[in-house]
Each structure stands twice: as C-alpha cells, then as structure tokens.
C-alpha cells in the first residue's frame, strides 16, 4: 500500500514525488512512456541530443532572488540555484507586419519599446501592468474572466493587444482565440516580469536532477507502466489498475495525466466529456546548422511572428498546419557561462500550429511524406522574420502532434492541456487530485510549482 500514487513522470509528478518522499511517504510514480519528462522530455537521434518541448525556461530570476516561482520551487525541492544552471536569454522579439517589440529579462526594455512603437499607449500599458500585479493567483472566478475583455478595456490600440497576446498564448494558452485572464497574468509575469533562460545541457539536466533526488529519497519510479483504470468504490479511489492488469493500492492518487484523461480512467465515470479537451497542438521543425545562428545575423533568442495585424490563434481550419504565425527559437542565443562555452551545433527550432486529427489519421507512408512537406513549408514561412538559414542546414527533425501525444498521452496532443483549469486540483473523488497542465500552471517552472503545491495541499497536510 502506497501513501501516494502519482500518475505521470513529467515535471509536476517528479516535483510532487520529491516533496512526498522527502517527508517519508511511500510514493510510486507510474509513467506510460519509456522515458521521463512528458512534454518536457528529450531524445537522441543521429548522435545529437534534442529537447522535445523546451524553447525556454520561463520564470527566470537571477541567483540570489528570493521572490518568484523559481526561488520558491528551489526552496521547496531543496535545490541550489546552480543545480538548474540556467543561462539568461540574449533578447527576443514579437514581430507583426507593421510593428516590432523587442524584450528581454528586464521589463524596462519592453516598456521603452511600447513607448516607441505605441506612444499613445504608454499610460494604458502601465494600467495593464497594475491590473496584472493586482491579480490573485488562486481566485478561480478572477481566473476565468476573458483576457481579451480586460485588454480591450485597458488598451485602445488593437495591434498592441494582439502583439502582447501573441507570445503569451504561444507559451501557455490551451484555449483558442481568447485567453483566461488568470492564465494571461501568469504568463505575462513569467515571460515579461521574470524571463527566459535555458540550461546549457537542455532540459535533461533538470530532469536528471529531479529523478536523482527523488530516488535518493526512496521514491519509486516505474516507466512503461501505464495506468488504465482508477478503481472507485463509493466516491473513493481504492487502487489503480495498470495496462498489464496489475493492481496497485494507494491511500491517495495525484494525477498529472490531464483532467479528461484522468476522468476516463475512473471506473465510476462512463463517458467523460470530450468536448472539453484542448485542441492547440503543434509541429516543431528542428534544423541543425553548420554554423551558429549569430554568424548569419540571427541574434534573437525567441521570435514570435504573425503575418497579419490580427493574431490567429486557432487550430488550422482546413489544413495540416497554419503557418501564418509561429515561433523561432535559437538555443545558441543564450548567455552561457564561459566555462560551458558554445553549443556543439547551431540549432533553429520553428513551432507551427497543427491539426491533431489530420496528423493522426494518416498512413505511415503519408505521414513520412507530410513531415518532409511541412518541414519545408514551416521553415519557408519563418524566414520572412529571421535571416534565411536554409543554405546551412546539415540535419533536420520534425515532431508532430502524434509525437506529442506519445510523450504526454493528452487527448489531441494538446500541448497546454484543456482550456478549463482546476486550480484547487480536486476531483469528484475525495482522494484523487490533479496536478500538471490541467491544474493551471504551465511551463517547466509552472509544472513543478503545480506538483509542489498540490502535494502540499492535498497529500502532506497533517
């Protein structure tokens, strides 16, 4: 009998596991995939290391900072700042056809850029910042207000609204078109008040530290152990059943599998409401270059682009992908420590909105051909906003909504989970709780915060 069974070995499940194992609980993390990390995993191909989801760790604060989510999770997990070895970004941009906003990890740059590009909006932008600072994190009612509605009543230049929404939606909005006000505030803080960083070795460094710590505290981790069923008796989860039929008993269950995905496992739920599943999913086109991006004039860490005045944040209406908007990430363009030096290869990653159903339904042969075609199309769309890197490409990879589904097991390969978040993590069962993307925090630091806070709230209270 375990004190707590955790479903999913992503950032949130591992962080929760550390908290519980530290306080002497008997904990088991069950992961369906053959590797850890969930969306933020990593893989090796043709002798090179790749990250699955990572462009940037958001919520970056410098060493010594005591406030903010990064400092909080370090304290909660008993890590030193150096254990995550985060290097800050050089600088990023939001680019629309008629305007550009540069930003970095100091909000003053964005302030001055807004003043330069939208002089009439200086006071309105300050009013927006004041509203964001006032937002209280755990207020479910305030969370669910329409973000666009608040923006429309604060900022009078529609283009600026679209340009602010673009990076925040790209890095954390499960909904299409609009964004919950709470999610908007969380993302605004994590990107503009705090900022972007990356470990030189990528996400594997953070994951390996988490697993090492978890195991050293006596936590058990079982890969290739998918949970097929949560066995329910009278409003209470008594055990879980694995894909292979094995039954494991636990006093409580903390699931990072997603809200709908977890409901589907419950033996007392006959038909979960699939209309509430998230639909925002992506392809990622990864190019290995024979030189650093800076050598061809690309000094940007991240570029968020949109090719019209209106930001189009929807699943593609009638094609595999929608290349009108995208994200260009150049992992070389972080300020790595001198002793780390430079990355072995030049890398450019392009993220493009995709349609899960179309990608999922293809034959293997069509799938391979579609990957080649959409690599070309997504890269072609991106070089309108970054120096053309195509002549220097020596290797490529492309992952799709199918890949994301395999790593996360989310319906539709929904990268940020379902639009409806369950901030208190409770379910219809008194000992089944949610953590991870569907609880409300996204991103690497956010996911860890989710695991920690749900473990504290539901699994540790005396």
């Amino acid at each position: 009998m375990y004190d707590t069974i955790i479903i999913g070995a992503g950032m949130s499940g591992l962080a929760a596991g550390i908290r519980l194992a530290h306080y002497d609980q008997k904990v088991c993390i069950l992961e369906r995939h053959y590797t850890i990390g969930g969306l933020n995993s990593f893989y090796r191909m043709n002798g090179r290391d790749y990250d699955v989801g990572l462009h940037a760790v958001t919520n970056f604060t410098e060493k010594g900072a005591k406030k903010g989510p990064l400092a909080r999770i370090l304290r909660q997990l008993r890590f030193k700042w150096d254990d995550f070895s985060l290097s800050p970004q050089k600088g990023s941009r939001v680019v629309f056809p008629s305007a550009e906003l540069r930003f970095n990890n100091d909000i003053e740059l964005l302030r001055s850029e807004v003043a330069r590009a939208f002089p009439s909006q200086v006071d309105n932008f300050e009013a927006l910042i004041a509203k964001i600072l006032d937002y209280d994190d755990l207020d479910q009612e305030a969370f669910e207000i329409s973000g666009r509605q608040v923006l429309n009543s604060t900022i009078t230049e529609p283009l600026l609204i679209e340009m602010i929404l673009c990076p925040l939606m790209w890095y954390g909005n499960a909904d299409s078109h609009d964004m919950a006000w709470g999610q908007f505030c969380i993302m605004f803080r994590s990107i503009f008040f705090e900022g972007f960083a990356r470990p030189y070795k990528g996400v594997r460094l953070i994951l390996k530290n988490l697993v090492k710590r978890y195991r050293s505290l006596g936590g058990e981790l079982k890969l290739r152990h998918g949970v097929s069923k949560v066995i329910v008796d009278n409003g209470h989860a008594t055990a879980i059943e694995l894909d292979n039929g094995e039954i494991i008993e636990g006093k409580r269950i903390l699931s990072s599998a997603g809200s709908l995905e977890t409901m589907r496992m419950c033996s007392d739920v006959s038909e979960p409401d699939t209309s509430k599943a998230g639909a925002m999913t992506f392809i990622e086109s990864i190019s290995v270059l024979d030189r650093e991006p800076a050598k061809i004039g690309n000094d940007d860490t991240i570029v968020f682009y949109n090719d019209s005045e209106k930001f189009n944040w929807h699943p593609p209406a009638d094609d595999f992908c929608d290349t009108r908007t995208g994200v260009i990430c150049s992992p070389n363009n972080y300020v790595y420590a001198d002793e780390e030096g430079k990355l072995a290869d030049g890398i450019v990653r392009i993220t493009t909105i995709a349609d899960f159903r179309r990608w999922n339904e293809m034959s293997d042969e069509d799938y391979a051909r579609a990957k080649l075609k959409w690599y070309d199309k997504s890269v072609e769309a991106s070089v309108r906003f970054t120096p053309d890197f195509r002549p220097y490409v020596i290797d490529t990879d492309l992952f799709t909504p199918k890949t994301i589904r395999r790593f996360t097991w989310h319906d539709n390969g929904a990268v940020y989970g379902a639009p409806e978040k369950k901030l208190d993590g409770t379910t219809h069962l008194d000992n089944l709780f949610l953590c991870g993307t569907d609880q409300g925090y996204v991103g690497i630091i956010g996911a860890m915060m989710s695991g920690i806070s749900m473990a504290n709230l539901h699994c540790l209270r005396p």
């Binding site: 306080y23 002497d24 060493k63 010594g64 005591k66 406030k67 400092a71 909080r72 370090l74 304290r75 909660q76 008993r78 890590f79 030193k80 700042w81 920690i452 806070s453 504290n456 540790l460 005396p462």
Partner: protein, 84 residues
Amino acid sequence: MVPTEIRDAIIDILADIAPDEDLSNLNDDQSFRDQMELDSMDFLDIVMELRKRYRVQVPEEDYVNLESMASTVSYLTPKMVAVA
C-alpha cells in the same frame, strides 16, 4: 534541548530549505519573511521539518509564533526541553 541548541536546529532547517542563503548574519529579532522572503509554503516546511526531525507538533493556530528566530526559539523551548 536548550535555547541555543534549538536555535542551531532551526538554522539547520533553514539552511536545508534555502541552501543559497547566508545565515551567518541572521537578525534574530527581524521576521524571516522580511529577511528571507519566506512565504506560507516555507513556514509549512519549517513545521514539517520539526515534526520529521524532532517529533514536535506545531498546530496551525501557533504558526504566528514562528515569525522570527527569537519568537520561534521562545515558543519551542518548552516543547523541546525533553528532546535530546
């Protein structure tokens, strides 16, 4: 435990919670919140570590006594007098 030992025990817990923090200049009369930016999650941790390490129970209504080092030590002294 006598008060100086209790103080050392709290320093150990704080060093564990915040490994990057320099605790040598801690002002015993100033609040942890102001000096170290500790929040409610961290106070829960201090309580849980006390329970884990010394089997000392701090009920939720007594958390206010953990405001500073001085108040924490004086609150814990009667509770930890029997702790070896």
